[in-house]
Amino acid sequence: MPEQVHVAVALEGAGWHPAAWRDPSARPRELVSPAYWRELLRTADDAAIAFATVEDALSLPVRGEAEPAPGHVGGRLDAVLVASFAAPLTRRIGLIPTVTTAHPEPFHVATGVQTLDHASRGRAGVRLVVGAPPAEVANFGRRSDAISGLPASGRVEDSPEVLAAFREAGEFADVLGRLWDSWQDDAIVRDVATGRYLDADRVHRIDFEGEFFSVTGASIVPRSPQGRPIVTALAHQSVPYRFAAEHADVVFVTPRSAADAAGIRTELDAAPRAAGTPLRVFADLLVLVEESRSEARAAKARLDALAGAPLASDARIVAGTPDDVVEEIRALAAAGVDGVRLRPARLPRDLLAIAERVVPRLNAADALLDAAADTLRGRLGLPRPESRYAREKALS
């Protein structure tokens, strides 16, 4: 029996190639239209893709003088709201918007993602992004600790500011989890005889006091279908791996090869983690798909020429045929990842290729892991967590 993996997609503007908006198939003036997002997410939903992440950032791409970069796509929609818009339009796919942890209030994010979980009947998640780039800090104007990137060593642990950003993100994730647990499943009793709508003993203040946040109350939203929506993070090195192991259900990694993927898996498996809860590891691949390798190479070369530089990416790039993509996925599966997250170079073109050419081939090769389940947690084989407050109460 072959190794099986989940397939997810990452949706970003016109696609992940910086010049994707100039591809003849692109619709660069529709990137903020409801029709565009409706079509993308329905395409992914119909294709038995496990989940879609929706990228986001709280600033425009800027060049040196902090002015907008004229050749880049500038302008996007709030990802939590795009996912919320997609919830009633889709049936099976997990919806995972990107949220940065430096600016939004965790209370708003927690209730927004819980509401997405209710509206989608258990298909919600969130991808947390750590840190406060200077352009975002200027847009918000309330903090002075902008982080312009990694230190010269390239290692997170060599920058106190970046380490602090990871501690802040850790608290952010902790607050989300506590708020999601704050209502027990059975808190609403609707007991007409006693006139009680809910049982106050089954709703818990979180009373969180941290270095960065203090949040007192319970969530305003009753516990959602998954209990806790899926938390995800992208990680490239040890500190982020440990952050993901401690706080996430799914981690996106960027192996250069199958052997590299096996090494990352080993490091993640060794990181401290709450007992008994599996961490799902998804390898990212940036894909450009055509029917022949020469067409794919030519398409990529055209875009590279338009961009003025060859495509650079943190994730491995596969420009090839559907079979090439399938082969890469199967190699990663053999190296022990739980899934792959495909980043379409061009939207909607490469998403359509994934839906119509790649996923069916994986399926035919019996390499697609697609558990029949009602919720995203269920599809990923993750248990539904009990509220920590219910557990504490049961123990006391």
């Binding site: 997002w37 818009f85 006139g195």
Partner: protein, 455 residues
Amino acid sequence: MSRPLRQVHLAAHFPGVNSTTVWTDPSSGSQIDFASFEHFARNAERGLFDYVFLAEGLRLREHKGRVHELDVLGRPNTLAVLAGLAAVTEHVGLVGTLSTTFNEPYELARQLATLDHLSGGRAGWNAVTSSDAFHGANFRRGGYLDHADRYERAGEFAALAKRLWDSWPDEGPRADPASGVFLDEGTPSRVRHTGAQFDVDALFDVPRSPQGRPVIVQAGDSADGRSFGAEHAEVIFSLHAEFADAQDFYRDVKGRLAERGRTEESLKILPAATFAIGDTAEEARERSREIALQQVRPETAIAYLEQIWNRDLSGYDADGPLPDVEPDTGSELTHGWANRHAAVRARVDRLRGIAEADRLSVRELVIRLTAQHTFVGTPGHIASEIDRYVQERATDGFTVVGHLTPHGLDEFAERVIPLLQERGSYRSGYEEGATLRDLLGLPSPVRGDVPAGAR
């Protein structure tokens, strides 16, 4: 030729987390399921309402040191629900209550612009301020702002949001594949603001939305609130629904517009209105009474008095006279309710006066205070009353509040709306592609009418 009739504007308020919402009724459904919101919004669309209106929850109400148990408690995130409704409706406006105290202008302006894009121009923002440390305890700023500061923040917030929305050209990005120019030089324009509350140097990252600026709704009734309203509001959700009072409020608020260079049409006043419908006047009165008894159960009546008295009154009988003890003026027993009254003792004296004069029990008094319907009668009577308010310039329409989730406005849409249409004062259909601004008959926003606000 007779003058054209003034047109009635109606908003549909999703029932909130208060004693108005009757959850004990067997036909009452979930306050959380998206299906409830979908039904509610689709019904509002069948009734050709201007918009659906949602409140906001920032902390669960507490009473006597515990979360409140008797009324509906818990609700979804306002923006997330409205984004979902954008997908399942085509015409009705989508207005959410969102605090200027516990949000940041860049982020909220971006979310509202997103909602305007996703809905094709149907977004609105009920801008509210929040004063107390109780709600602030859920937010990283700690949240407490005293009264004057919170309106200063609200004013700076709204002005900054408008400038962010205005910072992109109407036609959106150039996005020209041939030349490779996605954004023209200087697009979007930079928004710099230095004020007492905000200090930003922003490049907004959402292109111009269909309405340019989402519609701004406002509800505050204090002097600061009215001044904010005259400056920024395009709809006022007032609590002045009694006819003479409504006319006074209408005259006062609309009178403040000219000096700010605004027209009377640039602001609509839509007070909250509740209703009880019957086939006859008598049946409607019975229905109103029945709803009031559902809304104010004995334990609800006692809890209501406890909020005012600020002390535990659980030993008192709801069918008996008012408590003979004095109110406690110490620390607050109740947190998170909208109406707080500083002059507790005077209020208690006034309530005792009413109860004694009319020989009211606790429960009857609370019904009188909280559960009187604005309109009680046959559909014809209610339609003619609504029309009278609008023709005689007491209001521009109403924000209608039902008592059941999610079916509370079904009967209103089925029975009252057609009669308003017969009278000629209500639309007979939505115009294709109309924005919320179009539905409300509001003028388009004028770019550049917001002062830079630097100081």
